[in-house]
C-alpha cells in the first residue's frame, strides 16, 4: 500500500482509458477501410460487375479473382465493391434523411408543446401503426420500378423513432434547471440547442443511426426479395445475399462476402460508440 494522498477522488484508471482509445481506433480503422473499398474499389478493380463468363460459374478464389466467381461467372470482387458502394450510400442517405427531420421535429414538438406537439405525436403514432413495408409498397405503386419510392419509404418509416426519442429527452432537458438558468441569463434558442440539448441528444441519435443503418440495408434487400426494390443484376448487398443463398453449400465464401461486409460495417459503428452507452 502506498502513502496516503490528500485527494479522496478516485484516480482515473489508465488501463480503461487505453482500451477505450484502442476500441474507438479499431472502429475508425474498420470504417475507413470499408469506405475506401466502397469509394475506390469499383475504380481500382475495373471489371464490369455484370460481365458473365458462364463457363467459370462458382469458380473458387484464385489470385486473379480473390473472391472467385458467382453463379453466373461474374467477378465476385467487382460485384462486392459496387454493391458496397450502392448499399452503403443508400443506407447513409436513408438514415440521414430520417434522422435530421425526425430530430428537428422532435425538438420542435417538445419546445412548442400544445397542439403542435399533439398533432405531431398523432402523426408519428399513425406512421408507427403502419408497417414500414406496407408504406414502401404503397409508394412503389405510384412509381413502379423506380428508385425513389424505396428511399422515401424507408426514410418515412424510420424518422418516427428519432422523433420519439428526441421529444422525450428534450422534454426532460427543457424543464431542467440548467436550461432555466441559461434562459434567465438571457441566452437564446440557438445557444440552448448548442450547449444543452445537442450534447445530450447527439450520442443517442448516433446510437439510433447505427442501428438504423443496418436496418436500412436489410430493408432494401427484403424489398428486393419481394420484388419491389432493386432487382438483379444490380449489385447490392441484400440482393446479392438473396441471389447467392441457394449456393451456400457449394460456395460458402460467396454468400459469406456480402454478409461479412455488412457485419464489419456494423461492428465498426458499434466500436465507435462511447463507453458509457455501449451497454
Amino acid at each position: 500500500m502506498t502513502a496516503y494522498t490528500d485527494s479522496s477522488a478516485p484516480l482515473p484508471s489508465s488501463g480503461r482509458r487505453f482500451s477505450l482509445v484502442s476500441r474507438r481506433g479499431a472502429g475508425i480503422v474498420l470504417l475507413t477501410l470499408i469506405a475506401v473499398f466502397a469509394i475506390f474499389g469499383p475504380w481500382l478493380i475495373a471489371i464490369d460487375p455484370a460481365r458473365q463468363e458462364l463457363s467459370r460459374f462458382l469458380e473458387s478464389p484464385s489470385w486473379a479473382q480473390p473472391l472467385g466467381m458467382d453463379q453466373l461467372g461474374r467477378s465476385m470482387l467487382a460485384r462486392l465493391a459496387h454493391a458496397t458502394r450502392l448499399s452503403l450510400s443508400m443506407a447513409v442517405l436513408g438514415v440521414l434523411s430520417a434522422a435530421i427531420p425526425g430530430t428537428l421535429i422532435g425538438v420542435a414538438a417538445a419546445w412548442r408543446g400544445g397542439w403542435i406537439e399533439r398533432v405531431l405525436t398523432a402523426l408519428a403514432d399513425a406512421v408507427l401503426a403502419l408497417p414500414g413495408l406496407l408504406l414502401v409498397l404503397l409508394l412503389a405503386a405510384f412509381a413502379p420500378g423506380q428508385f425513389w419510392p424505396l428511399y422515401v419509404g424507408i426514410s418515412l418509416a424510420l424518422w418516427v423513432e428519432y422523433f420519439r426519442v428526441v421529444r422525450a429527452a428534450s422534454h426532460i432537458l427543457l424543464a431542467s434547471p440548467q436550461v432555466e438558468a441559461s434562459r434567465l441569463l438571457g441566452f437564446n434558442t440557438i445557444y440552448l440547442l448548442r450547449r444543452h440539448l445537442l450534447p445530450v441528444l447527439l450520442p443517442r441519435i448516433f446510437t439510433l443511426m447505427r442501428f438504423g443503418f443496418a436496418g436500412a440495408v436489410l430493408a432494401m434487400s427484403a424489398l428486393g426479395f419481394v420484388g419491389v426494390g432493386l432487382q438483379p443484376p444490380t449489385p447490392e448487398l441484400g440482393v446479392m445475399m438473396i441471389e447467392l443463398l441457394p449456393y451456400y453449400s457449394e460456395a460458402p465464401w460467396l454468400i459469406g462476402a456480402p454478409v461479412l461486409v455488412l457485419f464489419m460495417t456494423l461492428l465498426g459503428l458499434v466500436l465507435l460508440a462511447r463507453e458509457e452507452e455501449a451497454a
Binding site: S8, P10, G186
Partner: protein, 478 residues
C-alpha cells in the same frame, strides 16, 4: 454492557491510496454515536465497510463485531447474512427507498413475513399464517409510531417525515439490534428534524445501538450520546456529546461547530421601510394551486432594493413556487407580480439548490462563464476579479462542473449571476447540500456581495437559524 457494534483498526483503501484510517468505535446497546464530518471525509465509506458493501475497487481491513458476530473486516460477504436481522441501514432520503407501488403496511409486513419469521416450509398453511401474523405485527408497529392513518396509503401520499418513519419500520422489522442511519435530516426543516430525533430516541429506548452519520450539528446536539468527528478519513476527536460540543479540542471540530447556523454571529439588520423606498418587485394577492392542493393564496409583499428577505414555511408550502412566480417562470393562478419599470430582462436571477444541475454538464466552467460574458459584452477582467474575491482558484475554471466540489460550484453559480449586476437574486435552498463550514462561507459571500451591488435577495431555506441570522426580514407562508 453488551456492545451493539465494535470495530477495531478499520481501514478502507484502494490500490493507490488509503481512504479511511484505523478507525476504532464501540457502540454499546441502547446508545448512539453521531459521526460528524464534511462530505468526502469518509463517513459513508466507513458505513459501507461495516455493512460489507464497499464498491468493487475498494477493500478494507480490521475487525468488525456486530452483536455477537465477530468477523475479519476484509471478508465482506460474511456480514451479508446479518443484514436486516442483526444490522440495518437506513439510507439517505429514505422516501426514495420505498416501493412506490405498495402500500405502507404491505411494505412493512413484507419484511416481517419474509425476513424475520420465514415460514418453516413452503406449505400454504404456514405461509398464510406467517403472512397474517406479519400483517398484525406491521399494524401494531405502525400504531407504535402513530402511523395508523398512513397504513393503507402509498409512499407518495405521505409526508417526508412519515416516509422516514415508514422506512425505519421496514428496516427495523427484522429485529436488527444495530442501525446505521445515513444523513437522516438531509433537506428536512426543523419540525421534521424533531420528528426524526423522536424516532431515533424511541429506537434507543428499545435498546438498539445507533450510528448516525451526518453533517448536521443540530442533530448531534439533540441526539446526545457520543460524538465522533471525522476529517480526511480519520477520527480526530471522540467523546460524549456534551463534552465535545462544549469543549471541542481539535481545531476542525471548533470550526465545524462554529459554522452551525445556531452559532453564527448576527448580521446588522437594516431598517427597510423609509430609508430605502425603491421597490424592486411588488407581489399582490398571488395564489397558486397544483391540482387539488392549494399551495398559498393572498400572498402580498413588497421587496425593496438591497434587502435580504427569507421565505419561510413548512415543507410543501410552496416556497420555491413563490420564488419562481416572482422570477416569472411560473404564472400565478390569481394576483399579479409587478416589476419596477425599466428593469432589463436579466435583472432577476436564480441560484439553485443543486449547482451541478444548473450548469451545462458537457462544457468547462470557463466556457459557461465566457458565454455569459460574450453574450452581454462584458469584460472578463470583472469576472476574474470577482472569482478572486469569491476565493475561487483560476485553475478550477478549466474543469467540468462535475469535477469541482459543490461549494465551489455554488460560488461559480453566484459569480455567474453577479457579473450581470442583477436587481434580485432568488436563492432556492442554496446550501442545503453543503456541509456547515462551506454553507456558512457560501451564504456569507452571497449576502456580502448582494449587499455590495445593491441587489435584493429572496432566500428560501428550511433552516430557521439561517433565516434568523441572515435575513433582514421574513416572508411567511402558511
Amino acid at each position: 454492557m453488551t456492545m451493539a457494534l465494535d470495530i477495531q483498526q478499520l481501514c478502507v483503501f484502494s490500490d493507490a491510496q488509503r481512504l479511511v484510517h484505523d478507525i476504532a468505535l464501540q457502540i454499546p446497546a441502547g446508545t448512539s454515536l453521531t459521526l460528524l464530518g464534511e462530505s468526502g471525509s469518509g463517513k459513508s465509506l466507513l458505513a459501507q465497510a461495516i455493512m460489507g458493501n464497499l464498491p468493487a475497487p475498494l477493500q478494507c481491513s480490521g475487525t468488525v463485531r456486530i452483536g455477537a458476530h465477530q468477523s475479519d473486516a476484509r471478508l465482506q460477504k460474511a456480514r451479508h447474512s446479518l443484514w436486516g436481522r442483526q444490522i440495518g441501514l437506513l439510507p439517505q432520503e429514505p422516501w426514495l427507498a420505498l416501493d412506490p407501488t405498495m402500500t405502507v403496511e404491505r411494505q412493512i409486513a413484507e419484511t416481517y413475513a419474509l425476513v424475520s419469521h420465514p415460514p418453516a416450509d413452503s406449505q400454504n398453511d404456514t405461509l398464510r399464517a406467517a403472512k397474517l401474523q406479519a400483517r398484525s405485527l406491521a399494524q401494531s408497529a405502525l400504531q407504535g409510531l402513530g402511523l395508523q392513518t398512513a397504513a393503507k396509503k402509498y409512499p407518495h401520499m405521505i409526508s417526508g417525515g412519515m416516509a422516514q418513519r415508514v422506512a425505519f419500520l421496514a428496516t427495523h422489522a427484522a429485529g436488527a439490534r444495530m442501525m446505521i442511519i445515513d444523513e437522516p435530516t438531509k433537506g428536512l426543516d426543523s419540525d421534521r428534524r424533531d420528528e426524526v430525533v423522536q424516532l431515533l430516541k424511541t429506537a434507543l429506548a428499545e435498546g438498539i445501538g445507533l450510528l448516525a452519520i451526518t453533517h448536521d450539528v443540530a442533530l448531534a446536539r439533540s441526539l446526545g450520546g457520543r460524538i465522533a468527528v471525522m476529517l480526511n478519513g480519520r477520527i480526530v476527536e471522540q467523546g460524549s456529546a456534551d463534552e465535545i460540543l462544549d469543549r471541542p479540542q481539535h481545531e476542525y471540530s471548533r470550526r465545524l461547530f462554529a459554522a452551525d447556523p445556531a452559532n453564527w454571529p448576527s448580521y446588522q439588520r437594516r431598517k427597510t421601510d423609509a430609508a430605502n423606498p425603491e421597490v424592486v418587485v411588488r407581489i399582490e394577492n398571488v395564489a397558486k394551486r397544483f391540482g387539488k392542493q392549494q399551495l398559498f393564496s393572498d400572498v402580498g409583499a413588497v421587496i425593496r432594493k438591497a434587502e435580504l428577505v427569507s421565505i419561510s414555511g413548512p415543507s410543501g408550502s410552496g416556497k420555491t413556487t413563490l420564488g419562481n412566480i416572482v422570477l416569472g417562470l411560473i404564472k400565478p393562478d390569481q394576483g399579479r407580480i409587478e416589476r419596477s419599470s425599466g428593469l432589463s430582462r436579466i435583472a432577476f436571477q436564480k441560484i439553485y439548490q443543486d449547482p451541478g444541475a444548473a450548469f451545462a454538464p458537457s462544457i468547462s466552467i470557463r466556457r459557461s462563464l465566457q458565454d455569459v460574458v460574450e453574450l452581454h459584452k462584458l469584460d472578463w477582467q470583472v469576472v476574474s476579479a470577482l472569482l478572486a474575491r469569491l476565493r475561487l482558484q483560476p485553475a478550477l475554471l478549466d474543469r467540468l462542473p462535475s469535477q469541482v466540489s459543490g461549494g465551489e460550484l455554488q460560488r461559480f453559480a453566484l459569480a455567474r449571476v453577479l457579473i450581470l449586476k442583477p436587481v434580485l437574486i432568488f436563492a432556492d435552498e442554496p446550501t442545503s447540500r453543503l456541509d456547515p463550514i462551506t454553507q456558512q462561507a457560501t451564504l456569507e459571500l452571497l449576502a456580502e456581495h448582494a449587499r455590495e451591488c445593491q441587489c435584493a435577495v429572496l432566500l428560501v431555506t428550511h433552516d430557521r437559524e439561517i433565516a434568523k441570522h441572515l435575513a433582514d426580514r421574513e416572508l411567511s407562508l402558511q
